[in-house]
Symmetry: C2
Amino acid sequence: MKSEKTTTKKYLTIQDYIKKRIQTGKFPVGSYLPSENEICNRFKTTRTTVRRALDELLKEGFIEKEHGRGSKVIERGNSLGLLTVKGFSGSIDYEVQTIVTTHPKIIKWDPVIAFPLTNDEKKSQCVYFQRVRNINNLPVVLENNWYSLDALQFIKADEFVEGSFFKTLSQKHLIEIMGADQELRSIPASKEVAKKLQIKIGNPILHISVRFRTSKPGLNLYGDLYCNTTEYPIRNSFFL
Amino acid sequence: MKSEKTTTKKYLTIQDYIKKRIQTGKFPVGSYLPSENEICNRFKTTRTTVRRALDELLKEGFIEKEHGRGSKVIERGNSLGLLTVKGFSGSIDYEVQTIVTTHPKIIKWDPVIAFPLTNDEKKSQCVYFQRVRNINNLPVVLENNWYSLDALQFIKADEFVEGSFFKTLSQKHLIEIMGADQELRSIPASKEVAKKLQIKIGNPILHISVRFRTSKPGLNLYGDLYCNTTEYPIRNSFFL
DNA sequence: AAGTGGTCTAGACCACGCG
DNA sequence: GCGTGGTCTAGACCACTTT
């Protein structure tokens, strides 16, 4: 026999299937997945394989397991460095208000980006938007964002799911953050930053340059953050 | 029958056994572990269980797997946030020289520590030491360190394995870092910090407060870092 | 008692690296 | 060709939660 053979791994098929159902809300947050045995039947396989798929989803933060009860779909908010996949609000304990100060628009790539662009990115147009994060009505973070228009369609700010760019990517475009590279510097506030954060020029500011790697080939998200940490330090935990 | 029963999980037994052999150098860095089948025989178990144990060691960064060849013991240098388990040098690309400016000594707990101490820690004496990290003979990081004497014996600076405190913990005391909590602030350099980092008072400095959680119950390592990021920014990558 | 996830057994076949 | 790790099957028994 010929057969379409082994190239597709069964646990990946199951994993991707469930992940997609979660991302599209067919397995809503808070609900329980079908039991491992049910999944076995549906995919005509064994628990070892199903559990392998679920283990991946567990690691990626899509579900949590409750012994004797089931596997529950959870809000995906892994803390993964300084920022979380949920975006900035996840890394701070307070209520955060987000103001889009420059709506998404197409510009030339900004040379301020701290990471080398790929050739495809250089050739593409660039989508840029700027936001300010307020805590207790005080501006705390000024944030610039860039991505390649060729790799991801233009998304307007009012299309953001719950105001979050990352949630939009995950739920509307099935794109996940795979990781990031960051550079941190302590710098004096420039005139523009000082104005937008309502502080004095020269005050110490935490400057973070980020490149998020995504599950979509060719798509990186670039960020440039200016954080006033005098009142609200950046917190971060990690495990293992 | 009674039997000492299930409380000890087999994969944990295997995992701990191998981990200890690695930490004590009986499975040296660069060498290959016995094959999965050999381990099966030694522990009278099946590959599923052995693979589970190895998967853990893989995740924890003790080994890497080479398909068709074996499982290789590697230098444990996971990037885990801003600092690595190898210590500060791992997070910077340059040659780092470490100078112990205050040798380990017993003091009162310093109220500057940004995290609440446990009751056991408060009751215990505190071991403190200070180091400066130089890059190209320029001081870049000033680092204060504290830990509870009750939780870990006094260790002199000249007993540090390859000058590294973390390597000492892992190799001599079989203690691993399980995770950390950090707080980051951008602050103006104080007089003391400015002097030790050879910069002007008031220059922006990245201040990092860290609490490392360890595999030894009750033992936390507290750190207080002042980084001059003008020349050398802090870099950091993460995955998944 | 029934159903769920957690651990484990005893195999099988495949893909990779090397001699 | 042989040994290695990678995937998978078809069960078993246990611990936990719920009815």
